[in-house]
């Protein structure tokens, strides 16, 4: 591009804009402006001093030009947001708009950006943040998909069976695990297009060379393109199934051993450092909690913990959620009073070291409690309890922030991804989107 510093004149929908090629270069090669300035295309017209005509909305163009100039997005009142997004799509600048809308995720600087009210009749099951800021919400047998503009796409369902877990394979695909329906082959696990809601693939479980129907529970993905799901078969086929993301074929199955639970697990978590899978089955799905670390290469359980035989204390601390923190070599657990506990991952059969901190909660339990959930993001630990989410930081996990909104009732699930935190409330089918505001001007 020999015209880097040349002044470019545009006539956009009748209004004249002048800018430099350098400013437009900020749009990147994969945009309208990038292609326009490529040597392949003849750019005689604007250089001749004549303006370059674009048949688009000048107000939106002004906003987007400022975005290219300053990196900040400022939307005046007279520009509808939806129109701006449309225009950004035309110029190929939608990625710029999205990243300018919010800053890098920080649990201590979150602001509520939007609350979305759904129309599902039942209680929410799960909410999952997508990689590019969208989310999907499971209610009963339906999954509603929202893109990063929080616009709803066609909903998904797997034979209208009750959904147990959902997950984003990538920005275009959502995975659903659902209950089976006896004798019909319904349910199991399916892959859907997040744009159109089409079912693209249905995963099978094979035992003894026979395809079996099954109920899929918790889901998890690994960076080497595998899908893990807890499975309950018709007979004794309980365990963790493994599928290949490209071929969709089942490549492994880890059967649970008697006296231990894998097939009904509430939570799966892939650990990159040790290349093991954390499987947690928790109260009240089972009478006891079972947490284990599976090594699929050797088909062995390399670490396990259970509260079987542990004396029930007066305040009855039952583990309700668990998350492995590889950096600290421990598993963090939480009970229904939002006490955090830690189990050492380096020794098998250790005990929970509770850090009692929120005794005040006792006696203030709402009528319809939701079980607490845990999440870990960039060294920050998040824990949901009733209608708020607590953020813990530092080596000792000090409580640093609490996110709360006045209505919607208890939070039954939350998820972090695409620089956003989504919290699903149990009442009113409301979910909130929290995000970090753009970096300050100075």
């Amino acid at each position: 591009m020999g015209i880097q510093n040349a002044i470019v004149k545009f006539n956009v929908g009748g209004r004249i804009f002048q800018t430099t090629a350098t400013t437009l270069a900020n749009a990147g090669r994969d945009s309208f402006f990038g292609a326009l300035f490529d040597d392949n295309w003849d750019l005689q017209q604007p250089i001749n001093g004549r303006e370059f005509f674009i048949d688009r909305n000048p107000d939106c163009f002004a906003v987007l030009l400022d975005l290219l100039r300053t990196g900040d997005l400022y939307i005046p009142f007279n520009v509808p947001e939806r129109l701006l997004y449309k225009e950004a799509m035309f110029y190929g600048l939608i990625g710029h708009v999205r990243s300018a809308k919010r800053g890098p995720f920080d649990g201590n600087r979150l602001k509520l950006s939007k609350s979305v009210t759904g129309r599902a009749p039942g209680d929410g099951t799960a909410i999952r943040a997508g990689p590019d800021g969208g989310c999907c919400v499971a209610h009963g047998s339906m999954v509603h998909v929202f893109d990063w503009m929080l616009e709803e796409h066609p909903p998904l369902n797997l034979d209208y069976q009750r959904v147990n877990d959902i997950g984003w394979l990538n920005a275009e695909s959502v995975l659903i695990s659902a209950c089976e329906r006896l004798g019909r082959g319904d349910g199991g696990m399916g892959l859907f297009s997040s744009y159109t809601g089409d079912l693209r693939y249905k995963f099978n479980v094979v035992h003894d060379n026979q395809i079996k129907s099954y109920t899929a529970g918790a889901l998890c993905f690994s960076p080497d393109y595998k899908i893990f799901a807890s499975c309950k078969g018709r007979s004794n086929e309980y365990g963790i199934g493994v599928w290949d993301q490209f071929t969709g074929k089942q490549i492994d199955f880890f059967y649970e051993t008697p006296g231990w639970s894998l097939g009904e697990a509430d939570k799966l978590q892939w650990l990159n450092g040790t290349t093991c899978l954390l499987v947690a089955t928790l109260f009240p799905r089972k009478d006891n909690c079972y947490i284990s670390l599976l090594d699929f290469r050797q088909k062995s359980t390399v670490w396990s913990w259970s509260d079987i035989g542990a004396p029930l204390t007066v305040d009855e601390k039952r583990v309700r959620d668990a998350i492995a923190m590889e950096d600290c070599n421990s598993v963090c657990v939480v009970n229904e009073y939002e006490d955090l506990g830690f189990i050492d991952l380096r020794v098998s059969g250790g005990s929970v070291r509770w850090s009692s901190r929120s005794r005040l909660m006792k006696g203030k339990m709402p009528d319809e409690p939701c079980y607490p959930k845990l999440a870990l993001h960039n060294g920050q630990l998040f824990s949901s309890m009733n209608d708020s989410i607590s953020v813990f930081c530092g080596p000792d996990w000090v409580l640093t922030s609490r996110l709360r909104r006045s209505y919607g009732g208890s939070i039954c699930d939350f998820s972090i991804g695409g620089d956003r935190l989504f919290a699903l409330h149990s009442e009113d089918n409301v979910f909130d989107s929290w995000e970090t505001p753009p970096t300050p001007v100075i």
């Binding site: 994969d30 309208f32 292609a35 490529d38 392949n40 003849d42 048949d55 035309f90 297009s193 744009y195």
Partner: protein
């Protein structure tokens, strides 16, 4: 032209989005189609990007994405078919150039088309899971151009032809080659592999098969390897110039297989130039090349290693069994060391210090050194030689190097205890005759032996050094307490501890009167200062310095052995003495006496005595005179005794017998240790375990082990199983407490039941037993009925009842079960 189009467009009044002209899609598409034609025809300068982009955008927006996409596929396909025809038409070498040019054109066009259709690429394609524009362009190129029947085979044969021409030394256009190969890679790894790599590898295999056949007929091994290396490097270079990096492993595999793996045996065994010749001639470069090339193929290194090992064993066998070469032990060992040096440097310089080669070298040495059962003796003699004279003027580091080399040979020995025996003898001689060159070197070797074999191995050797030191102090004390002894002969006594030194039982000879008086004085002094000791003279090991005046007044100082001194002193009182008279007067054993007379009467230059008749050997009837005519240019004359440095045959037998005798208790101790822990074991396993335990000292003979086992059975320590005669079980009931006392009276065998149920067997010094009882709570009183043994318990003053250990009678049966004497 573009103005006219714009006008047409505006007439369609498309701003009213609600009303869509039924022909709208057709018209818009025709504009875009036209643009695509213009782009392919290099006529894009007249096109308006903005207009085309907007049109494509509008088509997608108005749900004509499908039409746009299928139109694109059709248009591009049509163009590629035309392109394919023009490439087909290219003649000869121009074909590749035309292909390359069209490929560049297509890429540029594809980029521009993608620019126009960017909105479709970003929204419509992911939603419908269609192939993105760029990938689509590559796929269509692959299907319509590369896989067109008239191009595919022609392209392949031209590429292979170029490679072949380059292999035969021609210069080719590598840039063009790289571009074409790059195109195949851009089309996907499967295209590259199927359309080029696979046939390329096949053709290469064929080429190298032929070439290697040609080379192996006419080249010697070294030249062949050079050529193979060159070819290998050429192929690697080819890959870096114009092939996919992933092909490197594949093509080198082909060369390795065809040029090396298939001819490995023939190369190694090639007459006059194979591996053995390289080893003989120290051809480091060739060996290194062979190593590096063979390393690349399966079994390559093991082939080299096997040939080297068998060659080395052959050479080594010759070295250690050739009677001619056994004459001089020092030479013998030196040859071994030279051989070791030679192969060490081959391995370090040519075989990159490969551990497996070092192991092969070690095992070969171990193999052939032990073929000759005199190796331990010779190695000890070599050390003796070095420490006597060889190390003079050699720096400390060099001494260390020599000693380290000797230790290396020592490590190969299986019969280390034999070495120890000889070493002790040789060390004793060195110490007593004061011939040791360097005390530091001696001690350093002892330290090395200690680290190699443990304290037990060297404790006696160290005791010898201590004796030497104490003797010096004793002599100072003796002369200090006898100040009157300044005149007359000087006596130097070295007091040796029995057991530490190799003693040869000898009869004390009759010393001259002056000497025996002095000896008596020393004896009374020594016994006066040390109680409870016995002193016996070893006259066969001493030396003496005497002053002699011969017939013409010539004076000499003679350095002789004690025996020789006794003989010479006789001539102070007599001119002529017969052999019988000498024998009677001195009381020296006949063999020693003959040897000592021989050395004084028959050795030229040292003949202080004269003998009648003049002959080499000493007869019973010979007579001896002082040789008045004795002359020597030196004042001091050293008269050595004629001694065989190497052991004579009977001596050898004796040493061997002693070694065998010493091994017995060691084998027994090992059997006891093993049986204590195993309780029941079959014959073969006992043999195996005993051999393993004793490996560091000697290689136990299975028949000897069997004899020992039988002896232990006789002594009620072991018994045979009633059902399976091959099975032995220990009679000792090793539940708790004391078990048995070993034959060497200073040690007790104690077993201890650990908390986890395992049983530990300890050898405990007798006097430490009480401490052990206190600290480890070894013995449970319950197991020993206190009524029978009232004195037994944990009392620190407890002493072990000797009777109990040695005899069975009078003890209740139960106790006999734990305590067995043997």
């Amino acid at each position: 032209m573009s103005n006219q189009k714009k006008r047409n467009f505006q007439i369609e009044a498309f701003k009213h989005r609600v009303v869509v002209d039924p022909k709208y899609a057709e018209k818009t598409w025709s504009i875009l189609e036209h643009a695509i034609h213009e782009i392919y025809n290099h006529n894009a300068s007249g096109l308006s990007f903005e207009e085309l982009y907007r049109n494509a955008y509008n088509m997608v927006l108005h749900k004509f994405g499908e039409k746009l996409y299928s139109g694109l596929v059709a248009t591009m396909t049509a163009h590629l078919k035309e392109i394919s025809k023009s490439i087909e038409a290219a003649q000869g070498d121009l074909f590749l150039e035309e292909l390359n040019r069209k490929w560049n054109d297509h890429n540029k066009a594809l980029q521009m088309i993608r620019d126009i259709l960017m909105y479709m690429d970003r929204t419509y394609i992911p939603n419908t899971h269609k192939t993105p524009v760029h990938e689509l362009g590559l796929n269509l190129w692959r299907d319509n151009v590369i896989h067109s029947s008239k191009i595919q085979s022609r392209l392949l044969s031209m590429l292979l032809e170029l490679v072949h021409r380059e292999r035969t030394g021609e210069v080719i256009d590598r840039g063009l080659m790289r571009n074409i190969i790059k195109m195949l890679m851009d089309l996907g790894s499967s295209v590259y592999q199927e359309d080029f790599e696979k046939p390329f590898l096949e053709v290469s295999a064929e080429f190298y098969m032929g070439e290697s056949q040609k080379f192996i007929e006419c080249c010697d091994c070294g030249d062949y390897l050079k050529k193979a290396e060159l070819r290998l490097n050429e192929e690697i270079e080819r890959v870096t110039h114009y092939l996919d990096v992933k092909s490197e492993v594949k093509i080198t595999n082909v060369v390795e297989k065809e040029m090396i793996a298939n001819h490995m045996m023939r190369l190694v065994h090639m007459e006059n130039s194979g591996l053995v010749n390289m080893l003989l001639d120290d051809k480091y470069e060739d060996l290194g090349r062979m190593y590096n090339l063979f390393r690349r193929v399966p079994n390559g290194l093991s082939t080299i290693r096997d040939v080297m090992t068998s060659h080395l064993r052959e050479i080594g066998k010759q070295l250690v069994t050739d009677a001619e070469k056994l004459k001089d032990p020092v030479e013998f060992v030196q040859r071994l060391l030279d051989e070791k040096d030679k192969y060490d440097s081959i391995i370090s310089q040519a075989f990159s210090n490969d551990k497996t080669f070092q192991n092969a070298l070690n095992s070969s040495f171990e193999y052939f050194i032990n073929l000759n059962n005199r190796s331990p003796e010779f190695i000890s003699l070599f050390v003796d030689d070095k420490l006597r004279k060889g190390l003079k003027g050699v720096s400390e580091e060099d001494v260390e190097i020599i000693l380290d080399k000797v230790m290396m040979l020592f490590r190969y020995l299986q019969e280390k205890d034999v070495f120890e025996k000889y070493y002790k003898q040789h060390l004793a001689k060195r110490l007593l005759s004061g011939k040791t060159v360097s005390d530091d070197a001696e001690r350093s070797l002892i330290v090395k032996l200690k680290t190699e074999c443990g304290y037990q191995f060297t404790s006696k050797l160290e005791g010898m050094f201590t004796d030497m030191k104490t003797s010096q102090d004793t002599m100072q004390g003796f002369y200090a307490s006898h100040p009157e002894l300044t005149d007359g002969p000087t006596l130097v006594v070295q007091v040796l501890t029995t057991g530490s030194w190799p003693t040869q039982p000898s009869i004390t000879c009759n010393l001259p009167a002056e000497m025996s008086a002095l000896c008596e004085k020393f004896r009374s002094y020594y016994l006066g200062t040390h109680t409870g000791r016995r002193l016996s003279w070893q006259t066969n090991m001493g030396t003496a310095d005497i002053k002699a005046t011969f017939g013409k007044g010539q004076k000499h100082e003679l350095n002789v052995s004690t025996y020789q001194m006794c003989v010479l002193m006789l001539f102070n009182n007599a001119d002529r003495l017969s052999y019988k008279e000498v024998e009677q007067a001195t009381g020296i054993p006949a063999s020693d006496l003959k040897r000592c007379l021989q050395s004084m009467a028959c050795v030229k230059g040292k003949n202080v005595l004269r003998k009648e008749p003049m002959s080499k050997d000493i007869g019973e009837d010979d007579a001896f005179f002082v040789n008045d005519k004795f002359t020597s240019k030196f004042y001091k004359v050293k008269i050595g005794t004629v001694v065989a440095q190497k052991e004579s045959e009977p001596e050898k037998q004796e040493t061997r017998q002693r070694v065998e005798e010493d091994r017995k208790p060691q084998i027994e101790a090992a059997i006891v240790r093993i049986m204590k822990s195993r309780r029941v074991l079959d014959h073969n396993n006992i043999i195996a375990e005993v051999t393993k335990q004793l490996q560091s000292r000697f290689l136990a003979n299975p028949t000897e082990i069997k004899k020992r086992i039988e002896s232990l059975i006789e002594r009620d320590f072991l018994e045979r199983d009633n059902n399976d005669r091959k099975l032995y079980r220990t009679m000792n009931y090793v539940e708790e407490g004391l078990v048995s006392k070993s034959k060497r009276s200073s040690q007790l065998l104690v077993s201890k039941t650990e908390e986890d149920g395992s049983i530990k067997i300890l050898f405990v010094e007798h006097k430490r037993f009480n401490d052990l009882c206190r600290s480890a709570r070894l013995v449970t009183p319950l197991m020993i009925p206190s009524a029978t043994l009232p004195s037994f318990g944990f009392d620190p003053t407890f002493t072990w009842p000797q009777k109990l250990l040695i005899s069975k009678p009078r003890l209740p049966r139960k106790l006999v079960a734990f305590v067995t004497s043997f």
